[in-house]
């Protein structure tokens, strides 16, 4: 069996940020991702980031990714396994993987799960036909592969992903006539909403999709208004021609591996679903198994970078390494993270963390 000191599962913003401090102290790090590219969702984020300079604010996600990869790629103590899917995780810290149709196991001393999240779907008639896509998936299709999802897209959901992807669809030359939101107010940042509204996107509250029309792919969306209990109101239906329906209706943490290994999880709606119970050092209920980033609760990429940085330092300390200035860096990072979670948009995560017993 292969041996590894630290295995990081997921090479998105959290995993990449965690790798750096571990590599700095000389730990042997194996970074695994099922995609062919490092960066997770950063690979498609063409927009400028929010936050402060410390989280590379104002830089585009794709450029932040380059900086993060450059910061680690030359370390001799780094092993990168891309196109590698972790198919099993066990409490004795055995990680089983599949790469190029070959199955192999890694015995790790420390494991960090930074697996991220997957996009949720929405129940409505015909929601399974081609042309009904997750908004983030469409963002990947456009910004990583240079392919348009269609010519005319209806966006469902007014969170930041829905708003940002609408804008990026238009940048790719795709029409976005309409964005629907079931709630009575826009849930993402208003600056993003204003940015697409002035480009002509009709943003409608208390409205949702009733069904998709089309045989083998989407030809139109039937939408309707919702009452205060989010129930569709008969008689308000309208049919809007489109070839793509994008769903931006939230994310769910990918905690399957943690659950398989027997880590304690708790369902916390505000954090997106089942999340691992972690302590303030980002360690799960399993010894030497850590979790950070969206898998530990859905937030923004800037928060994932900070939590990854903290988790990386915490693992280094637990493994007995001396981390220069850890006593200064850790409180500063925790402070920055708290700061990102302040304000009205951080309320959900604050409530969620309280329920989880972390905050």
């Amino acid at each position: 069996m292969r041996q590894a000191e630290v295995v990081i599962i997921g090479a998105g913003p959290a995993g990449l940020a965690a790798a750096k401090p571990l590599l700095d102290v000389g730990a042997e790090v194996t970074l695994i991702d099922r995609s062919a590219m490092l960066g997770g969702q950063l690979t498609k984020q063409t927009h400028m980031f929010f936050g402060s300079e410390k989280q590379h604010a104002s830089k585009r996600g794709i450029d932040i990714l380059k900086l993060m990869v450059e910061a680690i790629e030359t370390y001799p103590n780094l092993t990168v396994l891309t196109e590698t899917t972790v198919v099993g995780l066990y409490a004795d810290k055995v990680v089983s993987c599949v790469k190029d149709d070959h199955y192999f196991k890694i015995q790790a001393q420390y494991i960090l799960i930074a697996a991220g999240a997957s996009e949720k779907s929405l129940p409505f008639e015909n929601n399974d036909i081609p042309g009904v896509y997750a908004a983030g998936a469409v963002q990947t299709l456009m910004n990583v592969y240079g392919v348009k999802p269609g010519d005319r897209v209806i966006m469902v959901g007014s969170g930041n992903i829905g708003l940002i992807v609408s804008y990026q669809l238009m940048q790719a030359g795709v029409q976005v006539p309409l964005l629907l939101e079931a709630a009575d107010t826009i849930s993402g940042y208003l600056v993003h909403a204003s940015k697409i509204r002035r480009l002509g996107v009709d943003i409608r509250m208390n409205t949702s999709i009733k069904r998709a029309l089309g045989e083998t792919s989407v030809e139109a969306a039937e939408i309707w208004q919702l009452d205060e209990n989010w129930q569709g109101i008969e008689g308000t239906e309208t049919i809007i021609p489109c070839d793509t329906i994008c769903l931006s209706v939230g994310l769910a943490p990918l905690t399957e591996l943690l659950q398989q290994a027997g880590a304690e999880v708790k369902y916390v709606r505000e954090l997106g679903g089942h999340v691992p119970k972690i302590n303030q050092h980002y360690e799960t209920s399993l010894d030497a198994v850590y979790a950070c980033g969206d898998v530990a609760g859905i937030e923004e990429a800037s928060s994932a970078m900070i939590s990854g940085h903290i988790a990386g330092i915490e693992i280094a300390l637990k493994a007995g390494y001396t981390v220069a200035n850890a006593n200064d860096i850790l409180p500063r990072l925790r402070h920055d993270l708290r700061n990102l979670r302040e304000g009205p948009h951080g309320e959900k995560i604050r409530i969620g963390l309280k329920k989880l017993g972390v905050a």
Binding site: G51, S58, M170, Q171, T185, Y189, V191, G200, V201, H345
Partner: protein
Amino acid sequence: MIEKTGIASLEQVKQEFPDKVVLKKPKAIIECYKEIPCNPCHTSCPFEAIYIPEDINVRPKIDFDKCTGCGICVYNCPGLAIMVTQIKDGKIAMRIPYEFTPLPEVNQTVYVVNRAGERISEAKVTRVQISEKQNKTALIAIELDEQYLYEAITIEVHHGS
């Protein structure tokens, strides 16, 4: 109501503008109506004209005496929520952020749109700024009638004309 439509009300917009006398010189107009954790406008301003405290969720405050209308905050704002405006000879000269292709050309006539995305006027492009440090957010300068001061927000480039 902006929370439901994405469109700021005229009242909200006016609150972000200084007195018209001040606009004889170009000034940044910041339309960041709700607290978000973000501060590049503050850290990018070379004149310390935009202030956000330690808690980066606090909305930016601009000191129009210090603002030179340089436009650096315009392309550094991740929300594309800043423009530069000036009134001269009964016309307004605006510089807005623009991230679409193709870029308009100088002297080209473009549509001016309001916050609801409706065409309200036409304007001539007077300058197109796209340097390396702007990192692909162009600044488009246009000139239009003063009556659109609180309405004009971006442009729509004519296609196929």
